[in-house]
Symmetry: C2
Subunit: 251 residues, 2 copies
């Protein structure tokens, strides 16, 4: 854990954060194990969190509550971005009928702010509110290419986790790809985060250079050719970029 656990708040946050995107219900015992806190403490704190509507309790354990969902959606940056982006994402979906993502960078990860798709969508590891490493996703490469040198060096320096046989784990190759992204304004992914998936992404640029998000289209190998959607993705990203630049609310 990043933080000491000697304050109430730290412990409460640790409990909340011990839920991964794939968890639904966690038992008291499971929470105790994950947090490393004494059982009695978890019991008391979880009870408090329930009374504050950050957790719900069911017969089998605790789950993150609707109150937390509501609170999270008040985060102004992500929310405004989402609201402004939605029409562009819709356009993109209608033109492609493939899974459309909107993501921002947070450290070495992409956080997905939105994910929309139809019934026939490809099975992707990404989830709304979920994370993926920057180096193995098209959105991530976009965001990294336009990031400041420090952040870029930080990612390129650290180990690049291999997710599939196609994941780019060589820093040199990745750096060359990033340069290409800057030249062309789009990034690709070919089965680098999950086998059978391909992806095109374009950066949402505010004030010409800073990328505050990226938009992508994802589809399965076979029916989907990423190159065919370059123009559509770029149009969506540029449209959103200029809208955001006009409304200075974000940035």
């Amino acid at each position: 854990m990043a933080h000491d656990l000697d304050t109430v708040l730290a412990k409460a946050v640790t409990i909340l954060r011990s839920f991964t995107p794939d968890d639904t219900v966690l038992s008291l015992a499971e929470l105790t194990r994950r947090t490393g806190l004494p059982k009695a403490t978890v019991h008391r704190l979880a009870g408090d969190l329930v009374s504050h509507r950050l957790l719900d309790r069911s017969s089998v354990g605790y789950r993150l509550s609707g109150g937390l969902f509501e609170l999270g959606l008040r985060a102004s940056v992500e929310r405004s971005l989402l609201e402004l982006a939605m029409p562009f994402l819709q356009d993109l979906y209608e033109r492609t009928h493939e899974t459309v993502h909107l993501g921002v960078r947070e450290g070495h990860d992409v956080v997905y702010v939105a994910k929309i798709g139809g019934h026939r969508q490809a099975t992707t590891p990404s989830r709304t509110g979920g994370r993926m490493p920057v180096h193995c996703t098209a959105i991530g490469k976009c965001l990294l290419a336009y990031a400041d040198d420090e952040a870029q060096a930080d990612v390129l320096g650290g180990p690049l986790e291999r997710r599939t046989p196609h994941t780019v784990v060589a820093p040199g190759l990745l750096r060359r790809q990033l340069r290409t992204v800057l030249e062309t304004g789009v990034a690709f992914e070919h089965e680098e985060s999950a086998v059978g998936l391909q992806c095109v992404a374009a950066p949402v640029l505010a004030e010409g250079d800073r990328a505050l998000a990226a938009i992508s289209v994802t589809g399965p190998v076979g029916r989907f050719r990423p190159e065919a959607h370059v123009d559509a993705v770029r149009a969506a990203a540029q449209g959103l970029g200029s809208l955001v630049s006009r409304r200075r609310s974000l940035v």
Copy 2:
């Protein structure tokens, strides 16, 4: 405030909850005013919340952070609902090209889990993660009609806030409308939450009777005729309902 403010957790939650959906940045002084807590206390706690990545601090004040956004989207019920619903919402949007909502009931309010729309969407008071009173929205009427008697009586008993000249504030009339909803399987709203807006909604039924959400289409008076979209809305809601019933994950 509902809770006493004599624990750390209560104070922290109060600070977080003092952000309304319309706020972006709040200054220390503003937080102090809203929470009623001593200035020194707010200062300390806000600092703690920043270090735990629940708040961000900028030069002008504090805002709810991306970390909170991420955490909120792990709330399993809303999240699974959203993921399962998205394809149906997309279909509905493509058929209508008007604003599409997905909402659940929480007490006397509707909480919007999703809102999607295009560039030409009507200006609505609703926001993703936001609330509206049940009695003046089509989604709310759907959810209320299928709610248990206790909840229904609770709403019908309490005062019904007038939002526009068309808001139904007579309990008798509202009760009759709810009965019609049960018979027809759809609910309407005619400028009852905001002037110039109309709406159709249908309930997402699990196991035949319990409504765990509702889907609606909203458009401006003039170009938009709610009656024209009854079938589309009903199809989307029923499709989602049977999907959810098959996957028992929610409920």
